[in-house]
Amino acid sequence: MAKKTEKNNDDIGEDVRLALYRSQQEVRQLEKRAYDLFLQNLIKGTSHLCIGQEAIAAGFATAMKPGDWSFCTYRGHGHTLARGASMTGVLGELMGRECGLLAGKGGSMHLTDVEKGAMGSYAIIGAHLPIAMGAAWKAQYKKTGEVAVCFFGDGTTNIGAFHEALSMSATWKLPVVFVCENNLYMEYTSIGDVTPVEHPAADRAPAYGLPKIIVDGNDADAVYRAARTAFDLARAGGGPSLIEAKTYRHHGHSRADPGKYRPDDEVKAWMARDPIPFYRQRLLDFGVSEASITAIEEEVAAAVNVATEEAKASPPPSQDLILKDVWADGGWAWRN
């Protein structure tokens, strides 16, 4: 651990910064492992990596309290992990093993860990915005001080559910924070080609009586500060926020996509803004020692290795799961 320098003793502080770095490392290393595993054909189906976007997951999750809720998309491994879900559970789910968070029933696009506040990953564009709003409604009604956070992409700002959720959340002044991770692309189409405004989320905020908020999504400190402000507002009864975080995914949209539609120099410029080396440098600048940084990195690497082995060792889900948990009684009967 570094001696706290004055510089690293600002509104964020060293402990939080180390947590932010650790969280980014966990997401990055786990996603890289997922990539290796699907190259080995140990992960079936699809997978949407968030490599390049880790600062957003880390920044928000670190600012959240236990009891707060995250709602994310199919690109949700990072957000789920950042809330504290087990690495084994995440990898196991991707691999369709019994140890998976959902015992293989959901798959890569639906990671959920309710105990940790990771309230689900939703694979239909836009659907989870109104759902997150509903959680916030519960918090408002019960006056519990919980906040719901909803992550989604730039492409999601053009679908109807976005509009309905923003509009009703703002009217009801609900404690929900909408976070648009603008990585410039839908699947293979540039968001600029299909959207009539420059900032697909922020430019829409005034339509709901909300301020335009844009943050550097590759700087975990900036994300963390924006999150804190939005959470404070929400808990104070000030209603929702809509935050647009600019970022970039390093890989293609999903495992099937090499991402060739992106201009080389765009890719190069964004790779140079990789959030993780950037944040590592900030830690060094703030006086954290190389050794303590490396220690984090190695701890994470070790944890990812353990999780990989555990997931590989886990059996496929038992067949009787198929007919379980359609209903709250644990069963699936639709007849007597």
Binding site: A161, E164, R335
Partner: protein, 325 residues
Amino acid sequence: MAELTYRDAVAAGIAQEMERDEDVVFLGEDIAAAGGVFKATVGLLDKFGPERVRDTPIAEQAILGAAMGAAMTGLRPIAEIMFSDFFAVCWDIVVNEIAKTRYMTNGQINLPLVIRTANGGGLRFGAQHSQSIENWAMMIPGLKVVAPSSPADVKGLLAAAIRDPDPVIFFEHKALYPTKGEVPDGEHVEELGKAKILRDGDDLTIAALAAMVPRAVEAAERLKDEHGIECTVVDIRSLVPLDTQTLFREVSKTGRLFTVEENPRLCGWGAELSSLVSEEIFWELDAPIVRITTPHIPLPAADQLEDLTIPSVDRITDTILKSLG
């Protein structure tokens, strides 16, 4: 026993449950201050206040998303979709989210919620405000589907739906709102998934739902009075869970099944009942299974045309007579 309208039984059922459990909340368009466009929720705002009975914007995805998010974090919401036709604008939240989330999450998420809606035709509202869509809901795994035909069932089954730990789609029939019937005093809760035998007869079995129930009963009376034919009439009441025991027993007894449904023909619930019977109790059948349905067309608006389209007492009677030969 007090006599209530089907319409008032809705408010009575909701009030009973909201009094019992402060986690029951209710939202929808024009349901609070106005008491609902069918006046089925009058008085709830006054009784329970604007934090529990909330008017929403016209945004059905937001309404059902709100219900789902609230249910998964501990409330027991009731959402109104004003006309069942409008399920089409929020179908994703119903079928991809509400219906699947418990299963996909391996049981991590509970969704105790009810979606009430005004279903069915007969009011000359035309093709976009008159549909019977209970088959839309029945075909989706993960939804319970209830459709009462009497005020007592409205109150008792709605209460049961609200207490049920799973999502229930609750179809009120808009043509039945003004009808009256006895409703038990005090707390009244029915059980989901039980069909009800309304008439007992040995010649044939009619299975009906919602507004088709009184028509089936009237047809049965006419068949008896005018032709001496004795019909069993089963009010299905709940499509999911489905009371196949009662259905099979009553069909086995008579050897003949007629289904009367307001759905347009293709893939209506009558087809499901028919396929169940001809797969599982085929050897009990004495004759073809006959489905009486709305023809496979959108609903016309003009009164004479609408009356010809939805199964009527005349059509039920005639079809049965023709089939008996």
